[in-house]
Amino acid sequence: MATTPSITRDEVAHLANLARIDLTDAELDHLAPQLSVILESVASISGVADENTPPTSHALPLTNVFREDVVTPGLTADEALSGAPEHEGQRFKVPRILGDEQ
């Protein structure tokens, strides 16, 4: 890992892009130094656990859950669509998902 962790403004812009959030220039200026400070702080855990320590993903052990394959009531189409920004018939209406060339 990097010895002195920090996040540059460009990296924050890249991460925001990956996370699908537009950030203004002012937000980038503000966030980049704050994220670097947080990162420096959390980087202190590097080297705390050795390779023999197993990772924990959940506090208590999980087992897969099965149930009988029987129909149970769910949302109606109207209920499922009730919070949609736009819908048409019984479908969610969304902006185009392909580029012009397709």
Partner: protein, 506 residues
Amino acid sequence: MSASHTTAARLAEELAAGNVTAVEVTQRHLDRIAAVDGQVHAFLHVDAEGALEQAAASDARRADGRSLSPLDGVPIAVKDVMATKGLPTTCGSRILEGWVPPYDATVVARLREAGLPILGKTNMDEFAMGSSTEHSAYGPTRNPWDLGRIPGGSGGGSAAAVAAYEAPLAIGTDTGGSIRQPGAVTGTVGVKPTYGGVSRYGLVSLANSLDQAGPVTRTVLDAALLHEVIGGHDPRDSTSIDAPLPDLVGAARRGAEGDLTGVRIGVVKELGGEGYQAGVLARFQESVDLMVAAGAELVEVSCPSFVHALATYYLILPAEASSNLARFDAMRYGLRKYPEGVEAPSAEEVMRATREAGFGDEVKRRIILGTYALSSGYYDAYYGQAQKVRTLISQDFAEAFTHADVLLSPTAPTTAFELGEKLDDPLAMYLNDLATIPANLSGVPGISVPSGLADEDGLPAGVQILAPAMRDDRVYVVGAALEAALTEKWGGPLLDQARGLEGVSA
């Protein structure tokens, strides 16, 4: 004393005896909300009509001898992170402004099945990210002890509602301390149950391996009564524990008798000292002394990995949050905003513009941090390492619980700070959860009980009591014993000393 200034347990008795009706009780709380919530701002939505209808139905059931539970007719407030059918659910975010869920969270369904009228939805830090409720998109909640100060967070709305007598009971959620820390700084009681002890179905996920809903109340017995209503297995949550709850109400009643003979209480060396306010530590020591006087055996325990808990948490939480909040994509529910100056924008461009407009600063910070921690090249160094340290923290707990039946620490390092003081200093804000985070990482249950007022500022502090997983009954036994000893010392409940709302009628 007005009728709203009593406990839920007492209200339940009064209802059962026919001395008061659920409609009267509910109306008194609605009146109190009308009188003080303009200043406290604990509620994002009040459902007066629905609550009164539910109360009337409760009275009708009681008249027929068909009451649904001991708390039938006792009204409650619900944190706005819980889906409530027919009631707005915003999570304190613009991105869910006006969203009305078509279904109830299991916790909410159980409240309805037990007959508790729902007064409304309480304010919170956006998507439960914060320790002050200042990150709510709808404005902060204020502490009933001092309206210039924060009520804790993220569940500051639920804690303030209970502290201001706007509701006898409330639901909170605790991912890193969001039930317990607000409890400490508002002089109220908050319980984070064992992870999996209360269903997460319909709880909007922040960090799903850490999130846990629980009771927010004024007394330990009230918390136990509410915990028994909302807890227990739910097939709709794959992480729900498929085992009966311990007898929590019995534990609280037994504890209230005040005898701790034979109980080993462990003070966690790493959760105290530097960074903790002197008045908080003084009240903590006093509480420990009272427990010893009640017969408890004091042991000091060391949990060396706890010093890494905060860093571990601020890697695991953002990583999970960045994944969970990907669902806010402007397609199926919530806000949709089109980017300016773009003709026929793509779904991806709409998603970007929506998340820019709909999320606040802290949510953006954590999503970006989580995206970083999960990105290739950094995954092993950050997220992978954090998951291993999580194991070490659980091992520390396991070792500590071989020496002690319960572990103790101050709940929060300081009393309530002033609004705005830490708003743009994320690290300073994160330190508020120093003592509460280890329990979430390890899944163990914890309670915060008021320990008294700090000498330097006259504001409330709390004691945290932690127990092994699935031994939630122990936090109720010890919490109730401490509460009984302190109440006797104070000559009444700590909240009787709150002066922040003096002069406000009703």
